[in-house]
């Protein structure tokens, strides 16, 4: 087992913990860069989808996993970003401007929903964001002079400095670049006073407040960051699907994002990636084994959502720390191999904090 001895502040500030991290992340980077050259078009496209969901997942992780604010309307920000990007591109604005604009627009929407919900917590916030998501979904459908309504909206091909971003490979590299950027921003934010304040708010609002943290400010900023990342993901999603339909940004998509955060593991950026892999690849895995399943289980129409639901339920009941938490436990088991003790991993008993105000 590796024990870290920190001997300088510089070491404490580095984004990697030790050289092994650098090696493995470097290898991962090389593999990811080589994927389009080795795998077929279909898998490259799927991986692009995973990256886009991971970007939105990282955004939601900043809000739910690190600030402790629930958002059941994350898809709305994705939709706002997607339509902003597509409409601006259509108007002839270059992509290099529309991508940040999509993020900015979604961030503004995030502030707009963040401020009125400042006083809410837990359940009320969940319900309010659910309602917000439903309202945005309906607006996208009915405001057809701008969004094209149910006819959909064709997304023009983006160009960066004259280079057209075309096909699955183009979207793949673009999404990968944005994902790395988003992860870098998040990892850095989490080490600043802003990130510390967010974690403090998650752990106890009252004690954070008594330490002098401006709850309203930091919660709004967390909403803005989260929504901005979702907006970026939305802009990429527009190019991924190439044809926007308003009903793709509904409550079910929001629930998929929450599933990413939950199944991946609350409170870790790794978790968002694992969750995105899970949510995007599970349908593919089902499609592959569909014909080999006995009793025609594979052809049952509700198989996919029910499996999602089942895994979500099992995850909450048996592994609340998600895939990443389980991975850490497995890793530790190998590290400590002969000296492994069960009790070290026993879940701490938790008690619900009552929201009743008395």
């Amino acid at each position: 087992m590796r024990t870290l001895f920190r001997t300088s502040y510089k070491q404490d500030l580095r984004l990697w913990r030790h050289r092994g991290d650098l090696l493995w992340y470097g290898l991962l980077g090389v593999v990811l860069l080589l994927i389009p050259a080795t795998l077929g078009e279909f898998y490259v496209g799927e991986m692009g989808g995973v990256f886009i969901f991971a970007i939105a997942g990282v955004g939601l992780m900043m809000l739910t996993g690190y600030t402790g604010l629930v958002n059941l309307g994350h898809a709305a920000f994705l939709g706002i970003g997607a339509y902003t990007n597509a409409i601006l591109l259509h108007a002839g604005v270059p992509f290099i401007v529309t991508l940040p604009a999509a993020g900015l627009m979604a961030a503004l929407a995030g502030v707009a929903i963040g401020i009125p919900t400042l006083r809410m917590s837990g359940l009320y916030l969940a319900i309010a964001t659910l309602a917000f998501g439903a309202i945005v979904g309906t607006v996208l459908q009915k405001w057809d002079s701008v969004t094209g309504g149910f006819d959909g909206f064709a997304v023009p091909t983006p160009t960066i400095f004259g280079w057209p971003i075309e096909g699955a490979t183009g979207v793949y590299y673009l999404s990968l670049a944005v994902l790395v950027f988003v992860l870098w921003v998040s990892a850095n934010v989490l080490r600043t006073p802003l990130g510390r304040a967010m974690v403090a708010i998650r752990d106890s609002e009252i004690s954070a407040q008594s330490m002098g943290i401006n709850l309203a400010l930091y919660k709004t900023v967390a909403f803005a960051i989260s929504a901005g990342m979702a907006g970026l993901a939305g802009a990429l999603f527009a190019h991924y699907v190439r044809f926007l339909a308003p009903d793709s940004f509904d409550v079910l998509l929001s629930i998929q994002f929450v599933t990413i955060v939950f199944v991946g593991g609350l409170g870790s950026l790794h978790g968002a990636i694992f969750g995105a892999l899970f949510v995007r690849l599970l349908p593919q895995a089902i499609a592959i084994v569909r014909d080999d399943l006995p009793f025609g289980i594979g052809r049952m129409p509700g198989l996919e959502p029910s499996l999602f639901g089942l895994i979500l339920v099992l995850c909450i009941l048996f592994e609340p720390s998600g895939i990443y938490g389980r991975w850490l436990k497995i890793k530790r088991w190998f590290q400590e191999y002969p000296l492994h003790r069960r009790a070290a991993k026993r879940r701490q008993k938790t008690y619900a904090r009552s929201e009743r105000l008395r």
Partner: protein
């Protein structure tokens, strides 16, 4: 005159829809008051109740009243089992875990119903289908009237149950203070499961009352989202509030559908919900309570 009749018609239709929202919201509120959990699967439990009734009445050919009663009992038993087997295990986990758990359960219920009963809309014959009642110059659908009367009756029964029976009082005690109730010898866990049973039974009643008006299908659980508006409007801890909130949401929805351009009807419930949360987060019917450290 025509306008007044039209308006009254809208109000009655809205009140009928609102009663359904109110009944679903009642389920939320009962569970929330007792266990501080929120059941996002309430709408899907209602859907299951509707399908149970469909099976019993249309499939096995039972009498409407017997079938309805049996369906309510089965759904209530289902709710009891749900709490006893699954939800009891997550007590103490963060609230968001419960939200996700019930959302996941909702998915499972929806898929299970789709596999068992198919994805087509179904319906069954009720004594109220396609009948009208003449009240003065007003022609009312017996279906809408039955919803309103049924809701009022059910509320009366629930009121008597909670105020007059030993079990009802024990339930009130457990939701006011779990520890004190436990010390007084009330089996709090079983009582909580019974509250889940009641709330599921109420959902089944809602589905059965709704059956003459709209078909039963797998996605009828999404009504639950509108019922949130009702519960929040009523203050989320108040049982009469949930019903009044439901009626307000139902009527304003009908009004919006009639007087505003298309599209507004779909968002009315959500706008009412957000508006309430922003302007009066404690709801219409709840006392102001301040947070203490």
């Amino acid at each position: 005159m025509v306008d007044a009749v039209r308006l009254l018609q809208l109000v009655i239709n809205g009140a009928a829809a609102g009663c359904i929202y109110g009944l679903i919201a009642l389920g939320f509120v009962l569970i929330y008051k007792a266990t501080e959990m929120i059941n996002f699967a309430q709408g899907d439990i209602m859907m299951l109740g509707g399908f149970f009734a469909f099976s019993l009445i249309a499939h096995f050919g039972l009498n409407y009243w017997v079938g309805a009663l049996l369906a309510v009992v089965i759904t209530a038993a289902f709710g009891f089992a749900l709490d006893a087997l699954i939800l009891r295990r997550v007590i103490g986990q963060p609230q968001f875990a419960v939200v996700m758990l019930t959302l996941g359960l909702g998915f499972i219920f929806r898929a299970a119903a789709g596999i068992t009963w198919g994805y087509d809309s179904v319906g069954f014959e009720t004594p109220f289908t396609n009948r009208t009642v003449k009240l003065g110059g007003l022609v009312l659908g017996a279906d809408n009237l039955s919803i309103i009367v049924g809701t009022v009756l059910l509320c009366g029964i629930l009121y008597l149950f909670f105020s007059r029976t030993r079990l009802g009082v024990a339930m009130q005690a457990s939701s006011q203070n779990q520890l004190a109730a436990y010390y007084m010898g009330i089996p709090v866990r079983t009582v909580f499961s019974m509250i889940w049973a009641i709330s599921s039974g109420v959902a089944a009643v809602a589905a059965i009352l709704l059956a003459p008006v709209s078909m039963i299908d797998v996605n009828m659980g999404f009504l639950g989202i509108k019922a949130f508006a009702a519960a929040v409007l009523g203050g989320f801890g108040s049982i009469p509030g949930a019903l009044v909130g439901g009626v307000i949401v139902g009527i304003s929805e009908q009004m919006a559908g009639y007087y505003l351009p298309t599209g507004f009807q779909d968002v009315t419930a959500n706008v009412v919900l957000l508006g309430t949360l922003v302007l009066r987060p404690q709801g219409l019917f709840s006392d102001v309570l301040r947070k203490r450290v």
